[in-house]
């Protein structure tokens, strides 16, 4: 029996039970569709993350306290503070490190922001310096940013994130010149709003629109009220390099300078490039999409079981046909082939329909806002090809048992089957 004959028999038998065939395929259609859509959405969000990180600043090196670790992800948070505002100033100072552009520090603390009217908001305050807006690539929506003077004089000024401005004052312009109170536990002070940052939207690192910015020196003096002998602790020093190619060199020089300043031989800080952060974030996104894909993959397995079930019913129903075919000369392998081809055909058609569903769904979802988040889906041919191959595999795997059962039927018993 040739393959063409098997195919013809399979098509005849499947079209004779069209509804059953479609129902058997349904699980697979949904499974393949889901896998393709989720992989596309996963890829899309991976792109989003990368775009976000890139938008946070270019040619950026990030220095954080704590021993370095492999893979770009720190094993533990809450490393002992070692970096100071003075370290940052030393890096930026002429003769400190070559090929360095702007250098900016960040220190996050949780605070409560209170407006005289009475409304208040719990959020994060970022203690930073006058270079933040350059390094973070974030322009102002209104007002002005810190000056060097503000830092030197511990000025009681604050720059609000766009969300905070909107929530507390109703617009991005209204807060300028207004007074707000920032409190941290029992301490607190009144600040004058001098600027509002433009909106950035949510990023992989949290929503910066919800933050408020205060000079790092002011934060240390009026809110944290602690100053170590070595200087003002910061959680991050962002260093902009003059050119992407100089990044490894600059990272090296920063390392040497900080080791000297901290008087250590083992690094008590780590220097991460934007590239590292991107890879780490992309890794997280990839893990996420693999996870989603695997969940969708479960539906593929369920679809396969559906097909096996239908094939078993079909074999039982056609026991007599099997007997007749065996009587007129079909060998076991002919029967095996007939039912296997049938299962694979169902899976191929189901896989193709599923791929069409997945592609359609991905295109429908792309760029649309769902639950307040703009979805991005990027279809890649490998996901489509992979799901098609997997469906054929499912056809072979789940079709084999029913087909083998059909082939093993004894001719006389099959002929006698009512």
């Amino acid at each position: 029996m040739s393959f063409i004959d098997s195919l013809r028999v399979a098509i005849d038998s499947l079209s004779a039970h069209l509804l059953r065939t479609v129902l058997a395929m349904l699980g697979l259609i949904i499974g393949v569709g889901a896998v393709i859509t989720l992989l596309a959405v996963g890829r899309g969000s991976q792109d989003d993350v990368q775009r976000n990180i890139r938008s946070l600043g270019v040619n950026l090196l990030t220095v954080r306290p704590g021993a370095p670790s492999t893979g770009g992800i720190r094993a533990a948070a809450g490393s002992r503070p070692t970096l100071t505002y003075e370290d940052a100033q030393a890096i930026a100072a002429p003769g400190g490190v070559d090929n360095v552009g702007a250098v900016s520090v960040e220190q996050n603390i949780g605070i409560q922001i209170v407006v005289p009217g009475g409304s208040n908001f719990a959020t994060q305050a970022i203690g930073t310096d006058e270079f933040y807006s350059i390094v973070r690539n974030t322009p102002l929506a209104s007002g002005e940013f810190f000056y060097e003077d503000h830092l030197r004089t511990n000025a009681m000024v604050v720059v609000l994130g766009s969300n905070i401005a909107q929530t507390l004052f109703g617009s991005l312009d209204a807060p300028i010149g207004q007074q707000v109170r920032l409190s941290l536990g029992r301490t607190g002070a009144t600040f004058t709003v001098i600027g509002v940052m433009s909106s950035r939207g949510g990023t992989a690192l949290g929503n910066l629109d919800d933050r408020v910015l205060v000079p790092i020196t002011t934060m240390s003096r009026t809110l944290v009220r602690f100053r170590a002998p070595t200087g003002i602790f910061v959680s991050t020093i962002n260093v902009q390099t003059t050119h992407p190619d100089t990044m490894p060199l600059v990272a090296e020089s920063i390392g040497a300078l900080l080791r000297e300043r901290h008087k250590v031989t083992e690094d008590d800080f780590q220097v991460q490039s934007q590239q590292d952060a991107m890879e780490a974030a992309a890794g997280v996104a990839r893990t996420q999409s693999v996870l989603l894909g695997s969940i969708a993959g479960i539906s593929l397995v369920v679809g396969g079981i559906g097909i096996m079930n239908t094939m078993l019913v079909s074999v039982t129903e056609r026991t007599r046909e099997i007997g007749i075919r065996r009587a007129v000369g079909a060998r076991q392998r002919d029967i095996l082939m007939q039912f296997l081809v049938e299962a694979i055909l169902v899976c191929c058609v189901g896989g193709l329909l599923g791929a069409a569903t997945g592609i359609g769904l991905s295109m429908a979802v792309n760029g649309r806002e769902i639950l307040g988040q703009t979805m991005h889906a990027r279809l890649t041919p490998d996901a489509v090809i992979l799901s098609l191959l997997v469906s054929i595999g499912i056809g072979i795997f789940f079709g084999f048992y029913p087909a083998a059962r059909a082939a093993r039927l004894r001719p006389i018993e099959a002929l006698r089957y009512e």
């Binding site: 040739s2 046909e321 075919r325 065996r326 000369g329 079909a330 060998r331 076991q332």
Partner: protein, 266 residues
């Protein structure tokens, strides 16, 4: 007619284990059938005649004994080889026709040819359908045909591979007497004019008289074996009565005679 032995059976047994007991469905059957014979196998139900037919048809294996078909020992053949024997040397006609559902007559007859990878399937199927007088029903499906027509499709399917032996298991069991006579007449003509060797199971002596020899089976043994003294001609002429059936019957007779020189024998 030549006297070549086509079926040679010696001490054939078939036993089943039923609990601790061994039950013999066949308790030592020996039988020779020459090419061109038309043998009716008779016996009460439970006598073992169906078991014998299943073994002769290579659908089942004997527990012991020898079965040579066309000079080849088939009693210990592998499953795949038995399939090939069924395909090439045997043709089956069942009481319940056993056609495949939904298929057109010509496709039904082509099924055995699929498994022998024959090339000119459609032409050979049409030729076989013509031989049984169904050239006007080639594209009909089982549901569109009478019982007699369906049985003739089954006979065409059995003949299409030019088998050495045609095995018919109560081929008229589901048919009324008029159509039964038609089918018997067809089998007689196939036997006489094309030299097809036929083994037919029946429990009606009336039908057995259309054969050239009857073999009686009882309790798993051959209890009687004799030629038919006065062979009865199946009365297919009876079928001439209603006008439509008469057209059918005469056309079938005419075709067989006309096709005889061209088709050749087994």
């Amino acid at each position: 007619m030549n006297c070549k032995t086509i079926i040679r059976v010696r001490d054939l047994t078939k036993s089943y284990r039923l609990g601790d007991e061994t039950v013999y469905a066949l308790a030592g059957v020996s039988l020779d059938v020459a090419e061109g014979e038309f043998v009716a196998i008779m016996g009460a139900s439970g006598s073992g005649k169906s078991t014998l037919m299943n073994i002769l048809g290579c659908l089942d294996r004997p527990s012991s004994g020898v079965y040579e078909l066309d000079g080849v020992d088939v009693s210990s053949m592998a499953d795949d080889d038995l399939s090939t024997v069924r395909n090439q040397k045997l043709g089956f006609v069942f009481q319940s026709y056993n056609l495949l559902p939904r298929m057109r007559a010509v496709e039904q007859v082509m099924v055995p040819l699929i498994y022998s990878n024959a090339l000119d399937r459609e032409a050979r199927a049409i030729e076989a359908l013509t031989r049984v007088g169904l050239e006007s029903r080639i594209h009909h499906r089982p549901t569109e045909m009478s019982g007699g027509q369906q049985q003739r499709v089954a006979i065409a399917r059995a003949l299409v591979t030019n088998p050495s032996v045609l095995l018919a298991d109560e081929p008229t069991g589901n048919l009324d007497s008029r159509v039964s006579e038609e089918i018997l007449a067809l089998l007689q003509r196939l036997n006489e004019e094309f030299g097809v060797t036929i083994m037919m199971v029946t429990h009606e002596s009336d039908i057995a008289e259309c054969a050239t020899r009857t073999v009686q089976i009882g309790d798993g043994r051959v209890v009687g074996d004799h030629p038919v003294e006065a062979r009865r001609r199946a009365r297919h002429e009876v079928a001439v009565a209603p006008p439509r059936a008469s057209a059918d019957a005469t056309s079938s007779v005419g075709t067989i005679t006309a096709a005889a020189p061209a088709a050749g024998s087994v």
